[in-house]
Symmetry: C2
Subunit: 361 residues, 2 copies
Amino acid sequence: MYEKRNKKSSEAKTGLTSLASLGEFGLIDRLTRNVKHFHPETLKGIGDDAAVIEAGDKVILLSTDLLVEGIHFDLTYVPFKHLGYKAAVVNFSDIAAMNGIPKQMTVSLAVSSRFSAEALDEIYAGILMACEKYKVDLVGGDTSSNVKGLMISVSIIGEAKKEEVTYRSGARSGDLLCVTGDLGSAFIGLLILEREKSVFKVDPNMQPELSGFDYQVGRQLKPEARTDIRNLLLGIGVRPTSMIDISDGLASEILHICKQSGVGCKLFEGKIPIDAHTRELAKEYKIIPSVAALSGGEDYELLFTIKQDDYEKIKDISEITIIGHMTASSEGKYMITPDGKSIPVTAQGWDGMKSSFQQLP
Amino acid sequence: MYEKRNKKSSEAKTGLTSLASLGEFGLIDRLTRNVKHFHPETLKGIGDDAAVIEAGDKVILLSTDLLVEGIHFDLTYVPFKHLGYKAAVVNFSDIAAMNGIPKQMTVSLAVSSRFSAEALDEIYAGILMACEKYKVDLVGGDTSSNVKGLMISVSIIGEAKKEEVTYRSGARSGDLLCVTGDLGSAFIGLLILEREKSVFKVDPNMQPELSGFDYQVGRQLKPEARTDIRNLLLGIGVRPTSMIDISDGLASEILHICKQSGVGCKLFEGKIPIDAHTRELAKEYKIIPSVAALSGGEDYELLFTIKQDDYEKIKDISEITIIGHMTASSEGKYMITPDGKSIPVTAQGWDGMKSSFQQLP
C-alpha cells in the first residue's frame, strides 16, 4: 500500500505516466495512435491476430510474439524444449486465427551468460519439433546477449487466399458464436505447476507431484495451434465470419470480436466446453470452472462466428461447440447462467482473476 | 582472471558449453544445423541479410533484429527517439542489402517498470519518423513487461522482383568490390559518446562536449539505410552480383561475401572511403583510420560487387567507391597497404578491436 501511494505521488511529481496505469491495451492504443500506412497492399495493420498484406492473388499474414522469462514463463517448471515448442505454436495460432496457413518464421533470442549452449539446443529442438509438426520453415532470426534472463521473440508469416482471411471485425448480429476444443485446462495446469513450485520452495528434495494431471499440465506446457480447423470448416462448406484465438481467456476474446464487429453477444455459461476433470480440479482450487475458461487464457483454441444458416453443418462436429450468438450492439454483452441470470461479460485478465480468487470462500 | 579460471573449470565439471566460447556466428551455426524447409516458396532461409520467399511474380523479404539495453545501446547517451529511429533503420538496411524495398514492419517492446509511457512515446515517435521517411507501414507488434531494462525486437518485410534480389553468394572472381558513402565515422562517434559518458561519471554536472563532432555522433545515433542505392544502380543499368550491409565492420562483411560466394579478395587500404575529420579523430584516439572502417561497424553503408564490365558506368558516381576486387578462392583474402604490403583480412569484431587498441602506442 505504501509503495502504491509512493508511486502515485512520484507520478504526480514527475508528470510522467506509469506503464502500469495504462494497461497493455491502453498502452498499445497510445503508442500506435499516430500510425499511418503508405502502401495499398497493407490491407490490415495493427488490431487483429496478424497483419494482412496483399501479394499477387494471395495475402501474406504477419504476426509477432514476445516471451519474457519471469513474465510469460517460469524456468522452475518449464523445460527448455517445451518453451521452444510453445513459443512457436502460439505464433502458429495467430495465423490459424486469421484462417491462414503458417509458413515461415524467424526466432530471436536474448540470453544472459547463465544459459549454456545445451539449454539453447533444447529450445531449438522444441522449436524445430513444432516446425516439423506444423510444416513451418525457420528462415531467420537474431541472437544476442542479455543483461538478465531469457527472451524469445518470434515472427511468423502465413498465407491465405484473400477471400478466406477471417478478421475480428466480421461478426454480425444473429451469427452463432463457436469455440473449438475445451477451455480452462491450461489455466488449471498453471495452478498445479505453481502449487508444486511452492512445495519445492519449502522442501527442495520433494519431487513434483504431477501424475494424474497430464491433460492440464500438457495444455499449459505444450499447447497446440488449431491449424486443423481451417480445413475442417472448408470441408463442411462453412466460412467463419470472424475469428480470434483464445490466448487471454474467452471473455477478453469475445469482447475483442464484439468491439471490432460493433455487435453485442449472448453467451451461455452452461455451453462453455470444459473437460470434466478440469471442472473437478477447478472446484478443488475454489474456482468456478467457467471463470477458468473465461479468464484463464492460454488454451489457444479458436473462437469464431458463423452465419445462422450454417447451424446444421456444424452442430454435430465434435471439435466445435456453439456457446451463444451475437446480438445488436445496443443489447450489450451478457453471459446467461444456467439458472437464467444475465451477467455482463468483462475482461478481468490476470489481475482481476487474482482478486476474485481471494474473494471466493 | 580468477573468475575466468573458475568459469572454465565449472564448464569442465558440468560438461556444458558456455555461450561465450562459441561466439555469435558459432552459436547460430550450432542452433540452426538441423533446420530444414518444407515449402518450395522458401527460396532462401538463414544466412543472408533477409529470408526470401516467393509470392506470385515477386518475392517477399523477411528480416528481424533485436536491440537489448546494456548490450546494443546505452541510455546514458542514446535519446529514446534516436533509439526508435535506429531500431527501424537498421532493419530497413537489411532489406536494402537484398536490393529490395522495405514495406511493412512489426515492433515488439519489453520494458521494465522503470520506464514511463512518455519514454515509449519518444521511442515510437522515432520509429514513426523513420517509417515516414522510408515509407514503411508499422503493422503490428507486441508489448510486454520486462524484469529488467528495455528490449526492442523489429521484424521487417520487404519486396523485390525475383530477378533483382541480391544475395551474399553471387560474387565471382574478377568482380569489382564497391562500397557506398564512407566508413568508420559511426565507430568514432561511439568513442566520443563513451568519452563524454566517463567524464559525466566523474562529474555529473559536466555538460557533454559534442559540438564539432556532429557528423560522427550523428552516424552513431541516427544512421540511415541506403535504400537509395537500389534506384541509383537501376538508373545506371548496373546489377550488383552480391550485396551485404555494413553493420559489423567492413572486414567481417567482406569475409561473409567471400565465404558465401566461394571467392577470395584483394582490398586496397588506401581506397577505403573515410571522412577527413573522422580520419583526424581516429588518430587522436590512436586508432589507424582504416581499422575504424574495417572493424568498427554500424555505418550501415552497402558493400557490393559488380561485374568488371560495369566499371565505366560506376567510376564517376560520387556515392560509390571501388575498393578492390574479388579473386579466386585459392588466392586468399588480402588487404594491400599503400606501401604494397599484403595483410590477411580478418574479422576481429569488437573483442579483437579492443585488444588491438591496447597494443597501439
